[in-house]
């Protein structure tokens, strides 16, 4: 039962990660939109246990950073001002899960802001932005991938299983979707929509656009799998015994597509998070100042940010465990869901 244990392992990891994002208000020390205009592009503060005289402190602390004389973005540690890390502090207002008003944060510092992942161009806390941003991106990505998979599965299975004119019709439709100039269609969509799109509307818009764009490729993949699966001996045998279409699809054919679907879904989620960046550029994404992972990554498109502020990469690095989690879970599920391996 190695597989089952691995699956629950991956699940625990993913649940833990998603919990951090879901309870962003609690885990994030600050309001993600709050600007600290005196401290743009502040590098991550280092946590110390030893002070500069060599004394050990059980409570980790950071030294306050101050702007270097005459500079815009160079900071120096002010070793006279230590900021001890406090846990369970009261800070900015938020609503837990969007319902429960609260002011409790996991950690913080007194009187001064503490930046563990640095700050962005407006002096906003990158850690808070990352956690809050995940709420939008992760769930838009998941939901978008879900919509894509569902659409792709239905269309692909119908085309592959029934064949004939239905196959032709559905596949030509899929090809049409693949050939559409999406960028220009999105421009047109932008022109139709009201100018200001709220965060919630933006969220569903992203899900809808991503789902609509992605399904065609998946449908073609699924169709291929279904085509080969329906000619297999056990499927023919089952049909010979009088199994209905619904039974055949449910019991024999759709399980065969699971490997394609799971791997596709695991790839689609990170892809959609990047796609959201493009949408933001067209004014269809999550509007400022609401953070999203796409927004966080888009600052990396500038050369000056790339070479000057290394901590702007950190969000991309922290996203990795999420994506790895999906891929790991996907591959484990795939192994389990394929009772009959296809030998070549």
């Amino acid at each position: 039962m190695r597989g089952r244990r691995a699956i629950s392992g991956w699940l625990v990891v993913l649940v833990a990660l998603h919990a951090c994002v879901l309870f962003a208000g609690f885990f994030a020390p600050y309001d993600p939109t709050e600007q600290d205009r005196g401290r743009p592009y502040l590098p991550p503060m280092r946590l110390h246990f030893l002070d500069n005289r060599g004394h050990f402190h059980a409570r980790p602390f950071a030294y306050a950073l101050k702007l270097a004389e005459g500079s815009f973005d160079q900071y120096e540690e002010d070793t006279r001002r230590a900021l001890p890390l406090k846990f369970m502090v009261r800070g900015a207002n938020y609503r837990l899960l969007g319902l429960l008003p609260s002011r409790l944060h996991l950690f913080g510092a007194e009187n001064e802001r503490i930046y563990l992942l640095g700050s962005d161009a407006y002096g906003r806390d990158q850690l808070s932005r990352f956690l809050y941003g995940g709420r939008v991106s992760l769930f838009a990505g998941l939901l978008g991938a879900g919509v894509t998979v569902l659409l792709g599965l239905c269309v692909g299975a119908a085309a592959g299983y029934y064949g004939g004119w239905r196959d032709d019709l559905l596949m030509r439709l899929a090809e049409l979707f693949l050939a559409l100039p999406w960028l220009y269609l999105l421009f047109a969509l932008r022109a139709f929509l009201p100018l200001a799109v709220g965060p919630l509307e933006a969220f569903f818009l992203i899900v809808a656009v991503l789902g609509a764009v992605g399904w065609a490729r998946l449908a073609r993949l699924v169709r291929g799998v279904v085509l080969s699966a329906k000619e297999r001996d056990f499927v023919r045998a089952a049909r010979g015994f009088g199994a209905t279409d619904g039974y055949l699809l449910r019991r024999h054919i759709l399980p065969a597509t699971s490997s394609v679907l799971l791997t596709q879904a695991a790839i689609l989620v990170p892809q959609f998070i990047l796609a959201e960046m493009t949408l933001s550029f067209l004014g269809l994404g999550v509007p400022e100042p609401v953070p999203s992972w796409g927004n966080l990554l888009s600052s990396l498109q500038q050369y000056s940010v790339l070479v000057s502020y290394w901590w702007m990469y950190l969000p991309a690095l922290i996203m990795l465990p999420f994506f790895l989690g999906y891929l790991g879970l996907g591959s484990e599920l795939q192994e389990r869901a394929e009772p009959y391996k296809i030998e070549r």
Partner: protein
């Protein structure tokens, strides 16, 4: 050909004489230029003495659309044309004052209506063909021709009437204006003098606007600028070579330009331009953003980075004050009630943290703005214009006076309500390709949140943004920027005048919508035709004060002109006026060792 002094009454005899002389002096073989025996009067420039030779490589953001000054609109075309053409009187980009160019002197009649310009003698086009007054007459005839659709044509009209010109001899031209014009001799800057011998035939055939494609053969194109066309490789580069007939010299009498070649590379993105410059592929760089400038300044390289100070770009926020049509969405009409309230706009202006914009958007390399004239414009800046610091208290007082009120939610968030109890929410559009302005909008959003206004920032692709602002007028507010091409206020009249196409908050009005717009119209029209600088300045200052009082444009900040050049480039003196680094391209040279290195 010697200038003929003859009375106008005996025009026929002059004609005959000219004909005979022409027959005597011009060779019968077609194509070879006529000889010009008069002594050349070269313009001597002060400055570092350079060495001849070498090649300078510059990056352009896009391929120029044309070499034809009659139809050029885009910045890359203008930059290239600037190196290939010359004008009668030129504005020195460093001093911002006029200086003689093709015309060695000019005289303005006491009534301000007649301008007499005397051409330098011995001038030749880059193909060796001599220039005389006929070329100038031809040039202005073409610019004034409605069928040519030259974009600058409007500048030659005064109350709809064109200026007229005639020559008194082959070197003297008299411009007759229908009205006195405050801009005076500055108006001659930027009018490239065209070669009649090449363009007259296409002009008469109505084909002049099709000329000047980049693929034009070098022997079919000529100008009076320091460089002439040599080679064009589509999608890659445009190569210009030294014009051997150029009319400027250094103090030792060496003919300028120093450089043998000027190469324009087409490098589409700003970041790619920085990389090319860093790797040494290009010699100079301009139009740098503050971030890239500090990246280049921080890294040690064999280049010098120069902050030339605040330029002529002004960035501003404006509200949609256009008259609603039946197509305007009801919400916008509703919001326009707030926008039309001057106190609302004043409150927004008072709440904006301009210092933060300069610091966070331009990394301190810029200046906060309270009026349209930037600090870079030394002559025309209004020193009396107040610079009130950011004050949320003042903003709140103004809003209260205008009938707005506040409510606060349980979590401490405040909301501004109008007199009807509606929450104040609107959107600000910006161009998604301009990161600086998007940043400004985000800062403004946060500033106004403190007044309880809920602002959405909407990045739009630039063309759809312009379409919304000038055509459909479906927007609430917009952050935009403009660059004045010259220090004279005349270049911004279309922003000021209510009938102007770039009077952005309410463009192309048939009649001024408000009394203060009518007053601004009057002041601007009057200063255009006022005679002395002092009179004009007074009128212009008054117009700026009106703009400040009513805040139809809420000015934000003006960025510095940031440039850089390899240490080997001599005479590198960037100016805050366009073209920032190539304005003295004839004097740029490569220091000795570098000449060999580029070969």
């Amino acid at each position: 050909m010697k200038p003929e002094r003859a009375n106008c009454s005996s025009r026929r005899i002059v004609f005959l004489l000219l004909f005979v002389l022409a027959a005597l002096f011009t060779r019968p073989t077609a194509g070879s230029p006529p000889q010009n025996n008069s002594k050349e009067e070269l313009l001597v420039l002060a400055g570092e003495m350079g060495h001849p030779g070498g090649r300078l490589v510059v990056a352009l953001r896009a391929e120029p659309k044309t070499l034809n000054p009659l139809i050029a609109l885009d910045a890359p075309s203008r930059e290239v044309i600037g190196a290939m053409q010359a004008d009668l009187v030129h504005i020195n980009r460093a001093t911002q004052l006029t200086e003689p160019a093709l015309a060695k002197s000019w005289k303005i009649s006491p009534d301000g209506l007649r301008y007499t310009l005397v051409l330098r003698s011995g001038l030749k086009f880059s193909d060796g063909y001599p220039l005389d007054a006929d070329d100038v007459l031809f040039t202005f005839r073409v610019y004034l021709d409605e069928k040519v659709h030259a974009p600058q044509r409007d500048l030659l009209l005064f109350d709809g009437k064109p200026l007229s010109l005639r020559k008194t001899d082959s070197q003297t031209i008299v411009f007759q204006l229908p009205k006195p014009y405050g801009v005076a001799e500055r108006m001659f800057d930027g009018w490239a003098i065209l070669p009649k011998h090449l363009l007259e035939k296409p002009y008469e055939e109505g084909k002049i606007a099709q000329l000047g494609a980049l693929a034009t053969r070098p022997n079919e194109w000529a100008g009076l600028g320091p460089f002439r066309l040599k080679e064009y490789v589509a999608g890659q580069r445009l190569v210009l070579e030294r014009n051997p007939y150029f009319w400027k010299a250094d103090e030792k009498g060496n003919r300028l330009p120093y450089l043998n070649e000027l190469v324009f590379l087409f490098v589409p993105s700003a970041d790619a331009q920085v990389l090319r410059f860093q790797s040494g592929e290009t010699d100079v760089i301009s139009r740098l953003g503050a971030e890239n400038f500090s990246v280049l300044s921080r890294q040690e390289g064999n280049y010098t980075m120069v902050d030339a100070g605040p330029g002529f770009e002004y960035n501003f926020l404006f509200f949609n004050l256009s008259d609603p049509t039946e197509k305007t969405p009801a919400e916008i009409v509703q919001r326009q009630k707030w926008f039309r309230e001057a106190k609302f706009r004043q409150a927004v202006s008072a709440a904006i943290d301009r210092e933060a914009i300069v610091r966070l958007v331009y990394q301190g390399r810029g200046a906060p703005l309270w009026g349209l004239v930037t600090p870079g414009n030394r002559r025309w800046q209004d020193e009396k214009l107040p610079h009130p610091p950011r004050s949320l208290d003042r903003a709140r007082t103004l809003l209260k006076e205008a009938g707005f009120s506040w409510t606060s939610a349980s979590d401490g968030e405040i909301t501004l309500l109008d007199s009807g109890g509606k929450p104040v929410e609107f959107s600000v559009v910006t161009s998604s390709s301009n990161a600086d302005r998007a940043k400004m909008a985000t800062l403004i959003q946060d500033d106004l949140k403190q007044l309880g206004m809920r602002v959405a920032v909407v990045p739009l692709e630039f063309r759809s943004l312009l379409d919304r602002v000038t055509q459909t007028k479906e927007y609430d507010a917009c952050v935009l920027g403009m660059v004045s091409p010259d220090a004279d206020p005349n270049v911004d009249v279309n922003v000021w005048l209510s009938r102007g196409g770039t009077h952005l908050w309410n463009p192309s009005q048939a009649h001024p919508a408000t009394p203060w717009e009518a007053e601004i119209d009057r002041l601007i029209d009057e200063q255009m035709y006022a005679r002395t600088f002092e009179q004009r300045k007074k009128l212009y200052d008054r117009a700026q004060e009106l703009l400040r009082e009513y805040q139809p444009m809420i000015f934000l900040a003006s960025p510095d002109i940031l440039t850089g050049a390899k240490k080997s480039v001599g005479n590198f003196r960037p100016a805050v006026l366009e073209p920032y680094v190539l304005w003295n391209v004839e004097q740029l040279y490569l220091k000795n060792d570098a000449v060999n290195a580029t070969r």
